[in-house]
């Protein structure tokens, strides 16, 4: 077995969060565009034999939708999507997401692609798992420059759920909507509470000893590099080549 890639570690950490027994069940998970690690994590959960329905937004053949991209949002509006994934160009300590850009609106510093469906999905999905591989103070900021989607909402605003957790290249944070703060759940091998704190622009809670994020097992790696890579080649050829070493067809 070759070395464990960071993407593989993040993927397995995401899969564990999907299966978190303390969270409401994830019977139907949707994965948005440009989300190879969440997609791989969902496939891992499914290939491990868990009953789960996956709706992968950017799958070209066998796309699950017949009403176009609208259907994902309608499905979510109906309450049929239990779990979604979101990232962000900036994420702050209250789980506010900025997918628009830095500086003045609409991103006159560095423009990111845009908010996609985050301003809806974050409210209407019972569970959201946040992910961002780059763990630096420019990504994890004290306060985002622009809010694509807020981390928590005032009482009276219709909202089905908030972030469950945030998985990064250095650690796993748990989110606590009651106090709108993250706590450090585990650090990846090679990291410490202090190294994470140095790389994070927002304050977070630490309770007791923080364990290491467990390594992917050989079985998990075999699934990822074999059948899961097969499923993902069509949608994410560059990711599969870079992470799993799979050669692209000519």
């Amino acid at each position: 077995m070759t070395e464990i890639k960071l993407e593989e570690r993040i993927t397995v950490a995401l899969a564990k969060l999907i299966l978190d027994p303390s969270a409401p069940p994830a019977r139907h998970i949707a994965v948005g565009a440009a989300s190879p690690m969440p997609a791989a994590a969902c496939w891992l959960v499914k290939k491990q034999g868990n009953p789960v329905r996956l709706s992968l937004l950017h799958k070209r053949s066998g796309n699950p939708f017949t009403e176009g991209t609208r259907e994902l949002f309608d499905l979510t509006g109906q309450g049929r999507i239990d779990l979604f994934f979101l990232g962000g160009g900036q994420i702050d300590g209250s789980a506010n997401l900025n997918l628009v850009g830095t500086g003045e609106w609409p991103g006159m510093g560095v423009r990111f692609p845009g908010s996609f469906g985050s301003a809806f999905m974050y409210f209407m999905t019972p569970r959201t798992i946040l992910f961002r591989e780059e763990h630096t103070p420019r990504v994890f900021v004290e306060k985002v420059d622009n809010i694509s989607a807020p981390g928590v909402s005032p009482p009276g605003v219709f909202r089905r759920g908030t972030a469950q957790a945030l998985v990064t290249g250095r650690c796993v944070f748990r989110f606590h909507p009651d106090r709108a703060r993250f706590s450090l759940e585990s650090v990846h091998p090679g990291e410490t509470v202090e190294s994470v704190r140095d790389a994070t622009g927002f304050a977070f809670d630490v309770a007791g000893d923080v364990p290491f994020t467990p390594d992917p097992t050989p079985e998990e790696l075999a699934l990822l590099r074999g059948p899961i890579c097969d499923e993902m080649m069509e949608t994410y050829p560059e990711f599969c080549t870079r992470v799993f070493g799979r050669k692209q067809a000519a």
């Binding site: 950017h58 609208r70 997918l99 609106w105 845009g114 301003a119 909402s153 994410y236």
Partner: protein, 275 residues
């Protein structure tokens, strides 16, 4: 409805038009975007339904665009959209940010002929704070408390352009499962469609094909453009040309690079095809 030439189709779009475009996973007509660049259209107000991709970036790069209403602009795995980013930074375009279901909802309001539709979410987002045309009202059906909800106005683009797999003799076009193209056509004043081919018969008379068809009543013009979605994928007809987009993303990092790409891929290719 008889097909017209691609250049004639592009000539239908006047300067200043509000033009809706589907994203790279839902049948954009890259062929028509290139023809619009050749025609030299100016001041387009683009709408990404619900996001924007390759066609939007090349139209911006060629100076055809004055504003973009969209939920994101990206080249997918090839990264950020370079001409969009440059034009925003240079203040050459106005960007009106939305969120995906809001774009769908505004078009559905136009489709149903109502002045607005509500949407959940959005409250507390700076998207909403920067949309003076969107309103927050108390939900009139709430039984307790205020329950604020966002109302979005109907969006009625002047044109939509997309690339369908085929048209029939009656002028119906077939988009299969990419039914958001139907919604956009319903919501827009005019739909201009490129197709791979025109086939005999009438899709609406065929129970297998009818559900993926858009009735000719919504279609204002059709042109044949073989491989007209390229480099974007077209259903099961052809795949995504990632190398083409990667090369574009590389060249379009600079204005000169884009100009060279545009000269080769938009103007020369057409000249060759015309020979």
């Amino acid at each position: 409805m008889n097909p017209i030439s691609l250049e004639a189709l592009a000539a239908e779009v006047p300067d200043g038009a509000m033009l809706a475009l589907p994203p790279d996973n839902s049948l954009p007509s890259v062929a028509l975007a290139k023809a619009l660049i050749r025609r030299g259209v100016r001041n387009l107000r683009l709408v990404g339904v619900p996001v924007s991709g390759f066609a939007t970036d090349i139209l911006i790069g060629a100076g055809c665009v004055t504003s973009v209403q969209t939920s994101a602009v990206s080249l997918g795995e090839a990264g950020f959209a370079p001409r969009f980013s440059a034009a925003l930074r240079a203040g050459k375009i106005k960007v009106i940010d939305a969120t995906c279901p809001a774009i769908h909802t505004m078009l559905q309001a136009a489709e149903k002929g109502v002045p607005f539709m509500p949407l959940r979410g959005l409250i507390g987002s700076d998207i909403l704070a920067n949309r003076p045309d969107w309103k927050v009202v108390p939900n009139p059906f709430a039984t307790n408390g205020e329950d604020p909800i966002v109302l979005l106005p109907a969006l009625n683009p002047d044109f939509v352009c997309f690339h369908a797999l085929m048209a029939d003799e009656e002028g119906n076009v077939w988009v299969g499962r990419r039914r958001e193209c139907a919604t956009i056509a319903h919501a827009s004043k005019r739909a201009l469609v490129t197709v791979e081919r025109v086939v005999p018969g009438n899709f609406l008379e065929d129970e297998r094909l009818a559900s993926g068809a858009i009735n000719a009543t919504y279609i204002s013009g059709i042109a044949i453009a073989e491989r007209g979605a390229r480099p974007v994928a077209l259903l099961d007809e052809y795949g995504f040309d990632g190398a083409y987009v990667s090369e574009y993303a590389r060249m379009a990092r600079s204005e000169e690079g884009f100009a060279a790409w545009c000269a080769r891929e938009v103007f020369e290719q057409k000249a060759q095809a015309a020979e």
